[in-house]
Subunit: 283 residues, 2 copies
DNA sequence: CGTTACTTTGAATATAGTCAAGCAGTGTGG
DNA sequence: CCACACTGCTTGACTATATTCAAAGTAACG
């Protein structure tokens, strides 16, 4: 079985001959990474999954590649995107540790997107055939895979809600909060982090113009709710950003709290809210 | 097993005592509806799935209901929606025949959305436990379920692309085309159909204001590319609508064909394109 | 027939996009 | 080491698009 896997990986993978302490992971380790409990009903644990190293800027898989492997991020930062009718890139997600890449490809047996590395990465190859086999052996594992797919649906749906009902500044605010939370899950600070992606990629991901992202970040900085220095972000007032999630919606903010309504246009429209909430000390 | 299913269904279901020719469906029939091939590796076909009838305006499941059944639409039209932070409804989809409802609930074992009927409906209950069992018995069936989940992800992703990169009129145009295609798949005309949902629901689904939907439909009508009479739509020029998909994107139309750019504002901005494409005869 | 819900239309406004210019880091080669 | 170009980012001015508010029209319903 192992030789079989080795043969199915794309040639590019074989160029990565970096020495690594753990080139193969067990089912246990994969389950831990995926945040699913290890199936109790799976006795034989002789299955191993290969790790592959990527340098920043490399391609993990391209659109329309045949489905052979799913990819589980062990460490590093990536960008998944698709191409629309006009060959314009649409950024779909920024996978990081613990994220499973490629579940969209099961439908047509070909990848419906492409994924690039934004930093050096360590990726675990999960051959789809092996996953199917595990699903067959273990009902619990099968259920866990369905859960992961379901979670992906819920996540995308959440983004859909963001796209539809939030203003540009709320999108950016929510994006920053989300990134903070994700870093926190990885054990980093949720308040101070480096964005791994360009303004262009953020703008694309959020569905707004790059200038808008830039303007809003500057505005947040001016208001003292964040600090921006290149790609280094410090979130000073997360409450402000999370309130934006709720009340900056273009459509429904009339009727909710009388802030941000009828503020003089000569000053920032955020001032009203900013003054209501004490600026929190930087951790 | 059958009594078990009968006991797990919600009380509301039992009120529907309409007499029906086929109250139970086989695995075969379910697979046909889902457009997946019947698993060859499943010999015993003694499993039956209960049908439930709903009148228009009834609730199939509510947000946060525990996951007991998935729902497969046998006939009728529905609306799935979720509730955002502000208790505002967000329409997610308009399920119809062959659509599987509830795959989002597997993740947390509770439904993450609610579904209402827009017309009288016949729904097949698929107990999640039975599905798991079938997945276990048949590798092919398991794969098919993964495919359906994957397809759902791809669909939601498509909507995400629509939300991000299309103008309001392109969204409406695409919506009409999409509805036409879906009716066509059910064997109805793709050119002439009744919308089952209100303008409000369309607007919500597309993430635009209701007035915008109304205006754009009127505009399309004025241009002769569609006919609107209440909720009855006749698509006269699908090419026009599908071109909108490509070239009405707010962001990328500069540089593509010099239509719709620099048109006098006194007349419709669609006129330029409309004149380039012959109006097709009404089928 | 009046009430209600849904839809259409117009006018004013707000939001975000486009265009254009300039700035700031980065890297290259002289 | 500095000039140079290059890329990514920021900012301002203007414009387009879509929303909000307001009002009136239309169909459905008891």
């Amino acid at each position: 079985m192992l030789p079989a896997i080795a043969q199915t990986i794309r040639p590019a993978f074989r160029h990565n001959d970096h020495r690594s302490k753990e080139l193969w992971s067990s089912v246990q380790e994969v389950c831990d990474l995926l945040h699913i409990s290890r199936p109790q009903d799976l006795d034989e644990d002789n299955c191993r999954f290969q790790h592959v190293r990527f340098k920043a800027g490399q391609t993990v898989h391209l659109n329309n590649d045949p489905l052979e492997n799913l990819f589980l991020v062990n460490c590093g930062f990536l960008k998944s995107s698709m191409t629309d009718d006009l060959d314009k890139e649409l950024v779909l997600s920024f996978p990081m540790k613990g994220d499973l890449i490629g579940v969209d490809s099961i439908h047509r047996q070909h990848h419906q997107s492409q994924t690039m590395t934004l930093s050096d990465c360590d990726i675990i190859l999960l051959p789809y055939s092996s996953l199917q086999e595990l699903c067959q052996k273990s009902e619990q594992f099968g259920h866990a895979i369905l859960q992961i797919m379901s979670r992906e649906i819920v996540r995308e749906r959440y983004m859909l809600g963001v796209q539809r009902s939030l203003s540009a500044e709320a999108k950016v605010g929510r994006f920053l909060c989300m990134m903070g939370e994700r870093y926190a899950q990885l054990g980093y600070s949720s308040r101070r982090f480096n964005l791994r992606m360009s303004r262009n990629e953020i703008a694309n991901y959020l569905g707004v113009a790059i200038e808008t992202v830039s303007r809003i970040l500057s505005e947040f900085h001016r208001l003292g709710v964040i600090t921006v220095n290149q790609r280094e972000i410090v979130i000073i007032d997360p409450v402000f950003l999370s309130d934006l999630l709720k009340f900056s919606s273009t459509k429904e903010r009339a009727g909710d709290k009388n802030v941000q309504k009828g503020q003089p246009r000569t000053t920032s429209k955020f001032v009203g809210t900013a003054h209501q909430q004490p600026v929190m000390a930087l951790a």
